[in-house]
């Protein structure tokens, strides 16, 4: 079964029907993030990609309101006409990526360690809950403490609390320009130390990544600085004084495409026998995590967010449990990406501690007592 509402009212009717018939819904947007989460079956497909309208854009207020199915590329084009953007630099992972899907996954790109995640830029939501009600939370202004901040809760909820019908984002002026220093041939320890040190500097450093290759000469540690051109130049000169390896400067267009490739995971596309993992950890734990992953034949990997994010490709028979354990031991969590549509991805996300799990269940229960929204997509029910 497939439902493709084009209005919030129609979406609400589908939810009501699902509640009446006790039939679970699989809520999707552009399906560009379908490798995330556990596979769910025996559901009616509620496709929100038809709820794709721009509701309002007030560049002077830094406020954008869209329906969840509006595509990220269309939004970004619109924002660019006013020299604005999403500061959290959302990954697309496909042309069909939507605002709603990105929100459901709380996905943020390389600038995240500086600018915050999607959840930090989501100001308000409208949604349909598991009582069949259309509800609003948050607001449409950048500063608001009125009521529980349910927008945060919906970010990263993978559709399990109900379909979103409207999203209000804080948008941000685009930095005038950017340049990137690519430092060659740093070993992992030196690279991590450099990133930790640079992240603590009072500079407009908005990208810190380390991409090793088998050929050490091609290994690069990249530092992005953004802002007005004279300020970018001056900061790069300062930073260079503390770099003793060979450095290449990537000018604006090259810099943009480098960070876009990283955001889009171009260097981490899995081969036929590989599976992609994402580890979010405290940045200073990255060396410890890498050490603990050594026995698992980590094929290719890279660090983003100044060390707080590790992308890694593992042989497909690697036991998920052991990798989740490695993440937990570093006070972090991991995502396993499904290989294909056949992959059930049973252990997609690192298990929660019992206290946190209890709170998650209570929250789920309050929004979706009949468990009809994306059941089991995050954890085994």
């Amino acid at each position: 079964m497939l439902a493709q509402p084009t209005t919030p009212e129609a979406a609400q009717a589908h939810v009501q029907q699902a509640l009446d018939n006790n039939t679970p819904l699989h809520i999707t947007g552009g399906q560009s993030k379908s490798r995330l989460g556990r596979r769910i079956e025996n559901t009616t497909h509620l496709d929100l990609s038809g709820l794709d309208q721009l509701v309002s854009y007030e560049p002077g207020e830094l406020i954008l309101v869209v329906q969840p199915g509006m595509r990220l590329d269309a939004i970004e084009q619109l924002l660019a006409t006013e020299n604005q953007h999403f500061a959290f630099e959302p990954p697309h992972w496909g042309a069909s990526a939507t605002a709603g899907g990105t929100t459901a996954c709380n996905l943020s790109g390389p600038r995240r360690f500086k600018a915050g995640a999607l959840r930090d830029h989501l100001l308000g939501i409208e949604m349909i809950d598991g009582h069949g009600q259309r509800i609003r939370a948050g607001g449409k202004v950048v500063k608001n403490v009125t009521g529980y901040d349910l927008s945060k809760v919906l970010s990263g909820s993978f559709g399990t609390l109900g379909p979103l019908t409207e999203l209000c984002f804080k948008v941000w002026p685009k930095p005038e320009t950017q340049q990137t220093l690519a430092i060659h041939n740093l070993d992992t320890t030196a690279a991590v130390q450099l990133m930790l040190g640079f992240a603590g500097r009072p500079c407009e450093i908005t990208g810190l990544a380390h991409l090793p290759t088998h050929n050490a000469q091609d290994t690069q540690t990249c530092v992005r600085v953004e802002g007005p051109a004279p300020a970018v130049r001056a900061q790069l000169e300062e930073l260079k004084k503390d770099i003793h390896n060979e450095v290449a400067l990537r000018a604006e267009s090259e810099s943009i495409s480098f960070w876009k490739d990283l955001r889009e995971l171009t260097p981490f596309q899995p081969g036929p026998e590989e599976v992609l993992w994402r580890f979010a950890i405290p940045p200073a734990s990255s060396l410890e995590l890498l050490e603990s992953l050594k026995p698992f034949e980590l094929q290719r990997w890279g660090l983003d967010w100044g060390g707080a994010l590790l992308w890694g490709l593992f042989p497909q028979n690697t036991t998920a449990e052991t990798l989740h354990r490695a993440a937990l031991d570093c006070d972090g969590n991991a995502w396993r990406f499904a290989r294909d549509v056949e992959d059930t991805n049973e252990e997609a996300f690192t298990p929660l501690s019992s206290g946190v799990e209890k709170l998650n269940n209570r929250l789920k229960q309050s929004f979706d007592p009949k468990n009809i929204f994306n059941p089991g997509i995050m954890y085994k029910s």
């Binding site: 207020e61 603590g200 300020a231 979010a280 929250l363």
Partner: protein, 495 residues
């Protein structure tokens, strides 16, 4: 304003409860004599006062948990208490409840420069965090005006902001993890030193939940490197609307200043009389703008800012030439509230946020309300994020003045919602704006929020009667009342 009526059976348990608390926690940890409880009868919204049955001062998370279990077993509600500096009555005690003060849990537990984080107990003050890491070149960004006294636990409960939050965010954007005691006494950790967490964003839910969902017993905060340079400028305008337009022009030009503050004529005059910050007497409006960041960037943008302000119609621009001058420019703004206390026996402070573009419309309506009521209204506000703090001046000794001021206040907040804004930008709902919640949210919206409470704190042990109205109609609420300049914390800056 009504709190849940005290239950007789709870009041009757008072002595038993105090005995058990004393037994479990020891003599020094429980305050129960009426004379000693006076200190806790109100937070900084001093118009509402109520003594609790007892105040508990645990020293450890385990003692917090014990207190919660004891109270839960006896059905005694708990009001969490940080420093009591809140402006919306969120910490107002209940007659049949206990206050749980986190004041003794005031240690800095861990400073981790590599992970750019600090872990503290909830009773540490906001400024205490910055003071602990200043020597390392770091600071904690949220800077509510009460930062000298307000506690981190309270900041998290209220999602506190400050003058720099357009650029640096509020508490929720600068918090990495918490330890929290739930209403059954269970201790749970949410988040840690990493920036992303597994499962739902419970950290985001607890932040700003005004003490309704759990007791925060530890917090891991994100710290930032201190900006290399901060420069401030003051621009004078012929009208507040003109100053508002300048703010829009600055943002449209792609700049995000660290702070932008507007003051109107009445505030300028009162402030000048009080502290002599060098503000232009007679001017209709002034705009303070601060840029911070790498020196190369600030210097580059300062020149551009000056040009923009001129184009936007500034009749005079004064740039602080050094740190001392910058501090002096800010001193006036920071003294705006106490300055009002000198020219008027009483004032009400409101805290709505509006879309900035609605400023002319809102100011016109405020002016009309002022004329109709005969009460002067001074306007100061965080212009970058549209957070208004209109101050309604009145005299509570004049019969009917207080009621008139309350009416004007409620009208202003309703107006904020009408033009697409919200009831509170940073002071919180507490009891102060509780009964105005239905002006902003409908029944379904409020049901969804209250259901979250019902599932996380099913017996409504934590801070009952706050934030969510008992009767759901758009009623009139009170605001921050100040009589004879008699603020509960007169030494704190309020801006």
């Amino acid at each position: 304003m009504q709190l849940p009526p005290p239950k007789k059976e709870r009041l009757q348990k008072r002595d038993i409860l105090v005995d058990r608390l004393l037994q479990e926690l020891g003599e020094g940890q429980v305050i129960h004599r009426a004379a000693d409880l006076v200190v806790y009868e109100c937070d900084a919204l001093s118009a509402y006062r109520q003594q609790p049955m007892a105040v508990v001062l645990p020293r450890t998370t385990a003692e917090v948990s014990t207190t919660v279990r004891l109270c839960a077993a006896e059905d005694i509600p708990i009001v969490p208490w940080g420093s009591g500096t809140g402006l919306s009555g969120g910490a107002l005690p209940l007659q049949d409840g206990v206050v749980l003060s986190l004041a003794r849990m005031n240690h800095i537990l861990d400073i981790d420069v590599e992970n750019r984080s600090v872990t503290v107990q909830p009773g540490v003050t906001n400024l205490g965090v910055t003071n602990a890491v200043k020597h390392l070149g770091f600071y904690y960004a949220p800077d509510p005006s009460s930062q000298l006294a307000c506690s981190i636990g309270g900041n998290i409960a209220e999602n506190s902001g400050g003058v720099h939050c357009l650029k640096y965010g509020t508490t929720t954007n600068n918090l990495l993890g918490i330890e929290v005691v739930l209403s059954d006494g269970e201790i749970v950790r949410l988040g840690g030193k990493g920036v992303d967490r597994a499962g739902y964003d419970l950290l985001g839910l607890f932040t700003g939940s005004e003490g309704l969902l759990g007791i925060i017993t530890e917090a891991t905060l994100r710290i930032l490197p201190v900006a290399e340079l901060a420069r401030a400028a003051m621009a004078v305008f012929d009208s507040v609307e003109g100053a508002g337009q300048a703010v829009a022009d600055v943002i449209a030009a792609g700049m995000v200043p660290a702070g932008m503050e507007i003051m109107d004529k009445l505030s300028i005059e009162a402030t000048e009389d009080f502290v002599g910050a060098g503000y232009p007497r007679g001017a209709e409006a002034l705009l303070l703008v601060e840029l911070d960041g790498p020196a190369s960037e600030v210097e580059h943008l300062m020149g551009r800012l000056e040009g923009l302000l001129r184009q936007s119609g500034a009749t005079e621009i004064r740039k602080a030439q050094n740190e001392e001058e910058r501090q002096k420019l800010w001193a006036g703004r920071k003294a705006a509230f106490p300055a009002m206390g000198r020219i008027s026996p009483d004032y009400y402070c409101m805290d709505g946020t509006i879309p900035r573009g609605k400023l002319p419309q809102v100011l016109r309506r405020i002016q009309q309300l002022s004329e109709i009521s005969g009460l002067p209204v001074a306007n100061v506000f965080h212009a970058g994020d549209g957070n208004l703090h209109p101050l309604v001046l009145y005299d509570s000794n004049k019969p009917g003045d207080l009621e008139k001021a309350e009416e004007v206040g409620a009208e202003i907040l309703k107006l904020c919602v009408e033009v697409g804004g919200v009831l509170s930008g940073e002071h919180g709902i507490g009891i102060e704006k509780r009964d105005l919640m239905p002006c902003m949210f409908n029944d379904a919206d409020l049901d969804a929020q209250e259901r979250v409470k019902d599932h996380i704190d099913p017996d409504h042990l934590f801070n009952p009667g706050k934030v969510y109205p008992v009767l759901r109609h758009c009623a009139e609420g009170g605001q921050m009342h100040v009589h004879n300049g008699d603020l509960k914390f007169p030494e704190l800056e309020r801006f």
